[in-house]
């Protein structure tokens, strides 16, 4: 949240260079960031676990997951548990690097504002 006061001036001019220009929009979105974060810990997770974890709907999760899949950030494994179709998502090396870059980015923003 933006607060009024001198703090605003104190950081002016610093943040933009670490700013939003090269921000990875793909994983910046909340649900997609959640998917990548959860997979970074677990490597691979079933669709249902991810859906419950992120508190989202089937349609929303699969739409966001597909965007990440198209970007090569995750792999989608489809299989059958008996007759029940089952989907697992797995983070790729590329997806992991993307999260790392995003984390670095956020840290850079924070560091840039703290330096003053």
């Amino acid at each position: 949240m933006a607060r009024a006061g001198p703090a605003l001036d104190a950081v002016a001019g610093t943040a933009p260079e670490a700013g939003a220009l090269e921000l990875d929009r793909l994983i910046h979105e909340r649900v997609r960031l959640g998917i990548v974060s959860a997979l970074a810990v677990n490597g691979k997770l079933p669709f249902t676990d991810l859906r419950d974890l992120l508190g989202t709907t089937d349609g929303n999760l699969s739409a966001h997951a597909r965007r990440l899949e198209n970007a090569g950030y995750l792999l989608c494994h489809k299989s059958f548990d008996g007759r029940v179709p089952r989907t697992d998502y797995e983070l790729t090396a590329r997806g992991r690097r993307a999260l790392q870059a995003y984390l670095d980015h956020m840290e850079a923003i924070i560091a840039a504002t703290r330096e003053r």
């Binding site: 949240m1 933006a2 610093t14 939003a20 249902t48 676990d49 924070i110």
Partner: protein
């Protein structure tokens, strides 16, 4: 249930807001990582019931009049406890909207099965060789091994429980044979109950 997606127009926002949003994003990532870790298929409530089964068994085992009866008592208890574990894990999975064989449950079962199988084989072999006094140590060590490997990707309390079982098992191997029932009660009884309560309270069921 769809959370409002954050707007992405950072460039238009004042720097302080950018900083706050970065902090908020990092917090969100950390929370998501922590919560995704706290998925455990292991049922705490099941652990408590398994502990009670073991306590009853150790009481019955003190009254065993023969080696065969003693081994039989513990084998029966083990089968009962296995049944309880499967039932409790299936129940927990169902409550979470998954199945026993989905995700975490499957991983756990795969990792825990080999040591249990070895335990069964060793029970037969050691009993035939007349080395029954080695059984409590072997059981506790193998069970602990299974829980450590099975819980490797689970919440920290699960592998910790496994390590504690292994420690008690190591003690059992070198303890006097007369302590057998006491150590079994402490291991399969008390440890199950204590860790069961922790998992039950902290990791949902």
């Amino acid at each position: 249930m769809i959370r409002p997606a954050p707007r992405v127009g950072e460039a238009d926002l004042p720097p302080l807001a950018l900083h706050d949003r970065a902090m908020e994003n990092l917090r969100y990532i950390r929370e998501t990582m922590e919560r995704s870790q706290s998925f455990t298929a292991v049922s705490g409530l099941g652990g408590v019931v398994m502990g009670v089964v073991a306590l009853v068994a150790s009481f019955v085992a003190t009254r065993a009049t023969s080696t065969a009866m003693w081994v039989g008592t513990w084998m029966t208890a083990a089968c009962l406890a296995l049944g309880v574990a499967l039932f409790a894990m299936a129940r927990k999975a169902r409550l979470a909207g998954g199945t026993l064989l989905g995700g975490a449950g499957r991983k756990f079962a795969w990792n825990v099965s080999p040591p249990l199988l070895v335990g069964f084989l060793l029970t037969v072999a050691l009993t035939r060789a007349g080395l029954v006094e080695l059984l409590p140590g072997s059981w506790l060590l193998l069970y602990g091994t299974g829980v450590v490997t099975g819980g490797a990707f689970s919440v920290r309390v699960v592998p910790t429980m496994g390590l504690t079982f292994m420690a008690v098992g190591a003690l059992a191997l070198f303890a006097p044979a007369a302590w057998a029932n006491l150590i079994m009660a402490a291991g399969f009884g008390a440890l199950h109950i204590v860790f069961g309560i922790v998992i039950w309270r902290k990791h949902g069921g």
